[in-house]
């Protein structure tokens, strides 16, 4: 009994220590700042494109008439709050939309970030709720995820106009390197959310016979509506196509496990680039492919981000490995 008691005491002590270390040790905001710039630009572009048919998608008498949505999806839609439910006149719609674009632009450059990060998340969800689920796809899922965690963490602490202004006023001598617990929480949430996404994406594919017989990749590249670059010449290479299918499933299913060990993490994250670039370039979903790569940056250390960005901006590397 003593052995068993000791085991559970050790287990609980280690779990608490590990939990605290995992969530509540401070982290440099460099990675969060980089993700804010890239995700902010994606949010701005995503919503800018809505401008091309704003009344069609968000007006009460557009593609998605509220009564049609209620008939199709029932009362569950009542939980999908959106400011678009209250705006109908074309002028008011454009004022609201332009204000949203300004907020996304401010978020991207990191000006008034604390406030605009909250507004950016609220707006991202609000736009999605109005047209959900009829006009949405994976891009919107990831946009919402990134906006949420960039709101939770101090995403304007690094690589932002806020940081630059504070530095000019002598209020931020660290140059945006001040580590904080909220950075760690935001990055950890992003990382775990990403693991859940890949887990379910992989499990979903594992239910389909075409991912087992390898024909899934052919069905993807031979889909005319998805296709952006013609890869149907691969019809003559079924082994290559099926290998791509198997690698995709294996990578997605193993991602939640292999992305955590230090040695396998760079390999797993690096694999996200060709896989998502493939989706971006060949399956016509440039935005979705890019936003997935942006999300994967959550697993890149702040030290690497600073080394690369400082080298890019100043022309020399600045080893900052200690920044965590």
């Amino acid at each position: 009994m003593t052995l068993i008691g000791d085991y559970f005491r050790e287990l609980s002590r280690s779990a608490v220590t590990g939990w605290n270390r995992f969530w509540f040790t401070p982290q440099d905001p460099a990675t969060l700042g980089l993700i804010r710039i890239l995700a902010g630009a994606m949010l701005f572009y995503t919503h800018l494109v809505w401008s091309l048919d704003l009344a069609g998608f968000f007006g009460s008498s557009g593609w998605l008439a509220p009564e049609a949505l209620t008939t199709a999806y029932g009362d569950a839609r009542a939980l999908f709050w959106s400011h678009w439910h209250w705006i109908d006149s074309p002028v008011a719609m454009w004022v609201a939309h332009l204000a949203a674009l300004v907020i996304f632009a401010l978020f991207t450059v990191g000006l008034f970030t604390r406030v605009v990060s909250i507004l950016a998340w609220l707006l991202t969800v609000s736009y999605a709720h109005r047209v959900m689920p009829a006009a949405l796809f994976g891009l919107d899922d990831i946009n919402v995820m990134l906006a949420m965690y960039l709101m939770i963490g101090p995403s304007g602490a690094a690589y932002s106009l806020d940081g630059w202004l504070a530095q000019r006023k002598g209020r931020a001598g660290q140059g945006g390197t001040a580590s904080s617990v909220s950075v760690k929480v935001a990055i950890r949430l992003m990382q775990i959310h990403l693991c859940i996404i890949y887990l379910f994406s992989g499990l979903g594919k594992a239910m389909g016979e075409t991912w087992w017989d390898g024909s899934a990749m052919w069905l993807a590249v031979a889909n005319y509506e998805y296709q952006s670059i013609d890869l149907t010449w691969l019809a003559d290479w079924p082994a290559i196509l099926s290998l791509f299918a198997h690698v995709t499933v294996a990578w997605e299913l193993s991602y939640p496990a292999l992305v955590w060990p230090r040695l396998t993490r760079p390999l797993v994250v690096a694999m996200s680039v060709p896989i998502h670039l493939g989706i971006a370039l060949f399956l016509g979903m440039m935005t979705f492919g890019l936003v997935m790569i942006i999300a994967n940056l959550a697993f890149v250390s702040p030290g690497v981000v600073r080394t690369v960005l400082d080298r890019t901006t100043t022309g020399q590397g600045r080893g900052d490995a200690s920044a965590k």
Binding site: A72, I187, A216, V269, G284, D320
Partner: protein, 223 residues
Amino acid sequence: MARRSTQRSNPTRDRTAPALAQSNDRAEPPIPLLSVRLRVLLSTAIAYHLMAVFIGAWIGSPPTSPFADQVVRPFRAYIAAADLNHGYRFFAPNPGPSHLFRYQLTFADGSTQDGYFPSRTEHWPRLLYHRYFMLSENLNILRPRSPTAEDQAAIEEEALQPFRAMAQSYAAQLLRAWGAAQIDWQVVRHYQPAPADVLAGRPLTHDDYYEPLERGSLKREEQ
């Protein structure tokens, strides 16, 4: 949240190369910056949120189990409000055929105009094209399925109501946008060809790969 400033390492003295990836933090000592009460509060919120993310993904796409339907209850409002109700089943379980919304507009003077969406030649940039693509794909999701084509014909009109409501909403938008008097529409399924067909020189847009599904019409005065 509490913050702790850390002195940035001197780049001229720090010879350590940055780790390519973030470590597991195994070597880091625990730094309890926050009070126990705050950590318990945060931990509870984190656990609830991550459970909501997991359950949202679990029930986000069919099929779901009775157990999952029970578990989701305390999370349902939060999942919906925070937009976490996504299955993330990209191209799963199988990459299926596409669906198009084809239509013919009839104007007051009797002239007609054909169209369809999504259109790779008309809709640009690609993200806008994809929005229209999702509109037409959504109709397929709403359409009840039967195991055989014969059974499909026997599907009751009531079961098609969600599908028809959305299709008529699209039709009404096209009527308004073009100022037409009537629209006749049809949802069409576009299958992918077999590799052998493509190698034989058949284009992806060959007529044989299109299957007409439901159809309907709407007049301006019916709106």
